[in-house]
Symmetry: C2
Subunit: 395 residues, 2 copies
Amino acid sequence: MNFDISERARRLTSSAIREILKVTEDPSVISFAGGIPAPQTFPVALMQQASARILADAPHAALQYAPTEGYRPLREWIAERHGVHQDRILITTGSQQALDLLAKVLIDPGKRVLVENPTYLGALQAFSLFEPTLTPIECDALGIVTGSLTRDIVAGARFLYTMPNFQNPTGRRMSEARRRELMKVMTEENVLVVEDDPYGELSYDGKVLPSLLSIAPDHVVHLGSFSKIISPGLRVGYAIAPQSLIKKLVQAKQASDLHTSSFTQRIIHEVLQTGFLAAHVERIRALYLAQRNVILESLERHCTSSLSWNVPDGGMFFWARTQSEVDTAALLKATLAPATGARVAFVPGAPFFAGQPDASALRLSFVTVPPPRIEEGVAQLARALHNFDNFDSFA
Amino acid sequence: MNFDISERARRLTSSAIREILKVTEDPSVISFAGGIPAPQTFPVALMQQASARILADAPHAALQYAPTEGYRPLREWIAERHGVHQDRILITTGSQQALDLLAKVLIDPGKRVLVENPTYLGALQAFSLFEPTLTPIECDALGIVTGSLTRDIVAGARFLYTMPNFQNPTGRRMSEARRRELMKVMTEENVLVVEDDPYGELSYDGKVLPSLLSIAPDHVVHLGSFSKIISPGLRVGYAIAPQSLIKKLVQAKQASDLHTSSFTQRIIHEVLQTGFLAAHVERIRALYLAQRNVILESLERHCTSSLSWNVPDGGMFFWARTQSEVDTAALLKATLAPATGARVAFVPGAPFFAGQPDASALRLSFVTVPPPRIEEGVAQLARALHNFDNFDSFA
């Protein structure tokens, strides 16, 4: 049959990342494309113990319907960690769901939403369904250029969305001065800030900058996740928001999926109770720093004449630009079908831009590739860039 | 701070059911209000084995990010059970999420959506966020009065939403003749039908009527759930839809929560592989039939002069009307604060209506109350009704 779909659904397109991930299921591809954590960091033994204990001690509660707000002891743990009241916390089905709920509750068609440029693709997808006017904000190596936030741009926006720590895709961390300047402007203009913080724990040197939430607790929705420090497959994240907004988010969540799995929420809480997290996060940081150093050395060995890049101090991503301004979507076709050598995948940069895209950018995720393969993949990427520069695009 | 919320969020209100469920957390209340399955039906031992086996055999896959469409072996199991291709199946975070995704993909503001009258409250909540014009359809004891589906009402609607088996709230099952008539009209008018079927397995006599999906496979989105036959706390449901629509639903789901928990999907699949389901569903049916018979006898003993009701042939709900047309929202206040006797909860009928509400209706869920408490609760409800009729409302 034919059926009419909504205006918003017409705008939905399958993401570039999504299509690429399908290719990278082939294990012969060296993939820097994924945005996924290293699976050897999942605390499997603790999960086994937690699952068994929960199903032995409280099976009926863990398998039954549960309150929309989330499992109270888990909310209390989060509240204590962030120094806020637990009534400000909503457990979400991954922090992606928080983006959907915020869009539902805050965006009317045509209203302005401010985003970093570039920004997290999944946020652009979640927001776009609700038809805002997305306004890209100028950014540099220190994060949002707060001097560019004039009243014309800021006033009347529904919110500003930012990932201050080791941003996806740039790997960049916003400086403390910029954080304070940002919250000063946003507080003066009375515009809400959504602080998305999935990578905050993954600072290689353990140094933590003040969260936007801590700077201006009443003007920030802080999104957290257990995906990068425990496991993404359990789909447990959270939002911390002013209480009047939490009420609306809870109502929107009730209509969206009733509640997040009571079983997976309890597993997260149970493993947190063991007190393993601090040491566990240290191990993840050490692993990711070692991986970063391998890709950095490989890039320095093979790509200094063809790429420029940021060196991240945490998280999972390198963000690079081709010096000859090659279109990286075309480059990807070449690296996935090379004349010789291994196939290599990365994510082209253009989809991360709400404004004019920088088509010469690319994102390299380095935490899941074994070090010898990192070296091989970067060398192959350099060969493809060299051929591209000499023969132009053969797309 | 003050912030602007969306027009759709302004319409969100906390549901009556939700507020009532808070009261019923007090174990001294005899609650017929819940819409939850009996927890003694959860296959705990199988879950324990499944969880342990998954975390031993495939921990990294079960705890990692996973495809939006869902876990392939689970999709294959569902495809085989329904006789459709697996590409038509999307796993959702409970079937509530399917309602949200359908609304996102199919509803534009002001466009018509046809709903049974009364209908599932969670569907009204999910749809309303996307601002359709909800058109209530005439129903009787056999389901939708298909003769009322004139071209004026049907043509141009985005979809018709129905729960043909043991509907929430009425407990009613649509007759086979009505099903065929309904699909004839809807096919002729080229309007999609959303068949929500959480209770289809819970037919007390095991008799199964043809699904709307089987009658007109290309015109139906069929929603299924493991919540009532395995466990709601795992939050695993599914949608079967025409392939062009599945693509849009997958894109919308990606923006909503990336994917449903890979761990809980695998648990469902693992317990299904044991082949326990047929015998398990038989035990649930026998339990729920016994519970239904207890409440039916209690109603016949205490309430024949004050209530009329449907006798359900499956599922979890009695739907009743007060013969003196008492407002059941006011009645609830009386049953929750009785002068003597136990406190009793039920769900007032009005919120289930998209059109003119029948405020004298109420929903009684009987599957989680122990039989002696059912008798006590119904007797108390009868006393409250008697007092109400004699003294009018004291609200």
